[in-house]
């Protein structure tokens, strides 16, 4: 155990090594490590964010799906209602149309009957006049008996 100059030389060497490490070794490595830590932290945060977004998206999609289903069933309900309405309406329209046609037909028939009656009446009047003329052949003077003939015609109407 003899303390000598070696101590000083070793202390100097030690100081140089410390200086070297402080200056050249520690900072770049620390920088690299910290940068990597930051990258990893960012990556993890991004992953977390992505997971969260996925959760939101699936939530949203299920919401949309649910809404779509609801709307679809509403539409179907509406359509069914509308269909039954249309059926009802067409039934009603058909009935009205039928009634109208029947009414028209009745009117036509009445008209036909009326005109047939008229024609017959005319015919009967003429026949009566002709008959009467035949009976009274000589005596009848169209001018003197015009009033009578007219009143007969009036009665037959």
């Amino acid at each position: 155990m003899n303390i000598n100059f070696t101590l000083i030389s070793q202390a100097v060497a030690f100081s140089i090594f410390i200086w070297f490490t402080v200056k050249f070794v520690w900072p770049p490595l620390l920088r690299a490590i910290e940068e990597r830590q930051k990258t990893i932290a960012d990556g993890l945060a991004a992953g977390e964010r992505g997971r969260h977004e996925l959760e939101l998206a699936s939530q949203r999609s299920s919401d949309v799906l649910k809404e779509a289903k609801q709307r679809a069933s509403e539409i179907i309900l509406q359509a069914e209602k509308r269909a039954s309405e249309i059926v009802e309406e067409s039934k009603r329209t058909a009935k009205e149309e039928g009634d109208r046609i029947i009414l028209g037909a009745k009117a036509d028939i009445e008209h036909e009957v009326f005109s047939a009656k008229e024609a017959l009446r005319q015919h009967v009047a003429e026949l009566a006049v002709a008959g009467a003329a035949k009976i009274l052949r000589r005596e009848v003077d169209a001018r003197a008996h015009a009033d009578m003939l007219t009143s007969i015609g009036e009665d037959l109407k």
């Binding site: 155990m1 003899n2 101590l7 070793q10």
Partner: protein
């Protein structure tokens, strides 16, 4: 191994515990242990050079295996420092802890090299008769480290607390502010300040030195005959394996004590 004189246990041990010295100047102090200095410098240059080469190309992306290894060591030490030191450790304390751990570990690890084979290599390859491989078995090394750290401790005491703050701490802690206790406080702190570098350096020195002595004793046993050689080899291997733990543990303890001392210098009571 000593080849010039008759080989006795004393000469064997003496040979392994003799430094290669050179006289720098007049006086018994101005002696330099060349082996200690050169070995520690080579180890320091190799380790810090390696780390520097790796760190220079350090990428924040996927690290190479070597970078991952260096990062492992650095983060291990950084964590230890973080738990003890509460300040900006990246400026000085953490890199210093890394320096100490790596350097002391390397110097201690030299203890595992087989001493007699190394001695033969030094003798025949380099023509060096005396060459101690383990720098930390030289008190000069451990005291150099401990005293450097001790001065750093004083420096940080003054820098962080100021002269007044430090003096206040010396006189008023740990027992109290009462003027009657000033002498007692100062005495207590004095003992603490003396014992810190002593225990710090002698713990490392003692452990590694004792380890080397055990290796020497086993080597001597191996010289006694066939059974001695077998036992010496087996026990030597066992001790070397156990020594891996001691070597690492002592380097770690030395580093942790450094961090603790410097942290204490930063914290006022």
């Amino acid at each position: 191994m000593a080849s010039d004189t008759e080989l006795t246990p004393t000469s064997y041990i003496n040979h392994h515990l003799t430094n290669l010295t050179t006289q720098v100047s007049e006086g018994s102090f101005w002696v330099l242990h060349v082996d200690t200095l050169v070995t520690s410098l080579i180890l320091g240059v190799i380790s810090f050079g390696f780390i520097w080469l790796v760190v220079r190309k350090a990428t924040p992306g996927v690290p190479s295996k070597r970078q991952a290894f260096v990062e492992l060591a650095v983060e291990f030490i950084d964590n230890e420092v973080k738990n003890t030191f509460h300040g900006n450790r990246h400026v000085f304390v953490a890199p210093t802890a890394l320096t100490i751990f790596v350097w002391v570990l390397m110097m201690n690890a030299m203890d595992i090299l087989p001493i007699d084979i190394m001695a033969w290599i030094y003798e025949h390859a380099f023509g060096l008769h005396n060459w101690r491989t383990v720098p930390t078995t030289d008190v000069n090394t451990t005291f150099a480290l401990a005293l450097s750290i001790w001065f750093l401790m004083l420096y940080f005491n003054v820098k962080i607390k100021g002269w007044g703050g430090w003096m206040h701490e010396l006189f008023c802690t740990p027992f109290g502010k009462n003027p009657l206790l000033w002498v007692l406080n100062l005495l207590f702190n004095f003992i603490e300040y003396v014992s810190k570098p002593l225990s710090h350096s002698l713990r490392l020195f003692g452990n590694i030195y004792a380890g080397e002595i055990i290796f020497l004793l086993l080597g001597m046993w191996a010289a006694t005959g066939v059974s001695g050689a077998i036992f010496g080899a087996v026990l030597g291997a066992g001790w070397a394996i156990f020594h891996i733990l001691i070597v690492t543990l002592q380097a770690f303890i030395f580093m942790m004590l450094t961090v603790v001392y410097i942290s204490m210098a930063h914290e006022s009571h």
